[in-house]
Symmetry: C2
Subunit: 429 residues, 2 copies
Amino acid sequence: MLKKYKYEELTAADLQQLVLRNTDPNQAIQSAVFEIIDNVRHNGDKALKDFAAKYDQVQLDKLYLDQEEIESLAATIQRDQQRALEIAFQNIHKFHSSQTKRERVVETMPGVKCWREPRPIEKVGLYIPGGSAVLPSTLLMLGVPARIAGCKEIVVCSPPQRDGKINGFVAYCLKLLKIERIYLVGGAQAVAAMAFGTESIPKVDKIFGPGNQFVTKAKSLVQSLTNISIDMPAGPSEVLVIADETAKPSFVAADLLAQAEHGADSQAVLVATDSNIVDAVNEELMKQLEVLPRKEIAAKAIANSYAVITKDLKSAIHFSNLYAPEHLIIESDYWHMVTSLILNAGSVFLGHLTPESAGDYASGTNHTLPTSGYARSYSGVSVDSFIKKITFQSISEEGIQQIGSTVEILAELEGLQAHINAVTIRKEK
Amino acid sequence: MLKKYKYEELTAADLQQLVLRNTDPNQAIQSAVFEIIDNVRHNGDKALKDFAAKYDQVQLDKLYLDQEEIESLAATIQRDQQRALEIAFQNIHKFHSSQTKRERVVETMPGVKCWREPRPIEKVGLYIPGGSAVLPSTLLMLGVPARIAGCKEIVVCSPPQRDGKINGFVAYCLKLLKIERIYLVGGAQAVAAMAFGTESIPKVDKIFGPGNQFVTKAKSLVQSLTNISIDMPAGPSEVLVIADETAKPSFVAADLLAQAEHGADSQAVLVATDSNIVDAVNEELMKQLEVLPRKEIAAKAIANSYAVITKDLKSAIHFSNLYAPEHLIIESDYWHMVTSLILNAGSVFLGHLTPESAGDYASGTNHTLPTSGYARSYSGVSVDSFIKKITFQSISEEGIQQIGSTVEILAELEGLQAHINAVTIRKEK
């Protein structure tokens, strides 16, 4: 049962409290993660093998699987499963391909030409969680934009199973992505290995991927300790569903539960334009929850969630903008009237037939999205995340005459004589 | 005099050593900065006024200047200075305006439509250094893309002068940007104020701007303590100049010194295709250095720099890609033959008549750029830095039939039954 709040009755302080997420519950593990990083940094492969023995219960001779081993694991999955992964791959590829654009040259003054060109980040590291949760979809979500961007080296790390291998679904995705090696390293140690490099594992320029709190903490630590960058800070997954009188309570409940089953710390917020809608959804929630295999987890997440009642769709969007949800679902016939009001969200699902599940797996959009309110300033992962845009400029003789005195005056203001000289010497040539 | 190294004779380890920058020399000030942040967080405006008295030697009654005060300060500068700031503003505006693009809707499967829409980051904070160095250009470089992006609230902080005012050049830039208030706060306390908010100063979603080591450390700390994001990590400024036999040694030397005068920790690297070029540049360096007002600073930076000799332009670019310079200048008739080989750089200046000074102030490109090797994975500031791209999707009845079973199979692989239900319930409707 979702607790109910009335939007109109909430004070600014209440609202702040409601939209607050625990952005860093992991200070407690900081020193443990720091020790892991330090160990990998100094002992390289040996540390990684020791961690595999300790945490993954497997003795590894080598820290990776090569192409042949990947091929044979990929061959173990069923044809319809292969086909589903192929369709997801194609849709993700099609959508992300639309994100690369050439930009035009701008002549800001006669003879002063400026432009930007994209360049791939050369070496990227993708962390794919393993263990109990197998996430082939995450490999597609990170691997496809990395391939489209043209990254030269794509380092994939995932924890080994007890048999020293990886899951066949992940192997099949590697095949689709034409990635010929996977490193059998999980947790904070994988992040450390990609940040500093070991005998087996190349150092990368940027690290991507979700993970448990150790992985998340390790990413944030290497970001502050090195000049490696990371995709984004990560917190528990979350959805905000907006429902009006046209919404089907059973669909709404199904979407809230799809979020809730991710983990007890997930949040599934309902914003409804009438109190009756919340009651109807609560009824459906109880019914659908009962038959879920992960019902204990989902029930905890629901207990950790709430419903807000607003007077109309517009107010519902206002609350959503304050919350800045990772996923926003608008279950209304009138969604096209409010999309322009959406300011803060990771990914938005419009209408009655657009479940978050579609975007989680196969519609083509990326599922690596900003959580915990980061949607106020971060975008989800896209091809942009795997490139830099370098600015270029070229000035002609006419150009240096045109712009020269402006630069000289401005450098003078800031008291930088050598900046002036660099222009004057060219003007007077 | 620049030390000389021969590229062909350097080992991989030598190269690693040469391109290494000190990415975080500021661990020592961490606890001092943390205390400042904590003080501002708990004592708000009072802490800010105390810091102004202590560090800026000024008693402030109110923590900002309003439109009228800004207007009257802006009126104090000369007409040619106003004109130079206007031209810079226009060029920066023209170039950055080319960075906003509408993207198309992609139908990844029949009935499955996906697209991205840009949204401004609502509240941004711009830090403009003050004190001895006055940086109106930085205000233009941050304010223009923020305006183009459409940010609703632009909070500008800059340390007050002894008279409790700000410099007229900064005031004039505020006028050009139609920003009606400036907060008189500098240093780590300004970053803390924008991250947590005080009685006078609004909390923002993202903080931009350069600063001394206290500012830089404060940005990195608030990034890890809150869900505020920052433009990029910052280190000392740097240039790498590539020169071949067509280069004019006097121009090359002028560009190296324009970098060197920024600070003793700046780095100015020369990569030349012949040892004689280095000798000629060294000779010019000594000559031009002698007459600089900031010659002591520049001489220290030059002592902290070096020259690398490569066999050709292509090898020079290879070294530059390893170094990943903030600024790259290619002084060669043949620059157009090598631009496609450039992989890692912040901003690139092409040909004999394109000094970095032009881009620092007025050509139109941004001067807030990745230093310390961050150009491997970061872009400079652009309109992109002030927006998020939100993904949207809308699925029709045909679409859910088309994509439904793929999503069900993939959710099944990952063991997420509620994800399956959210699709099945819609397919079977």
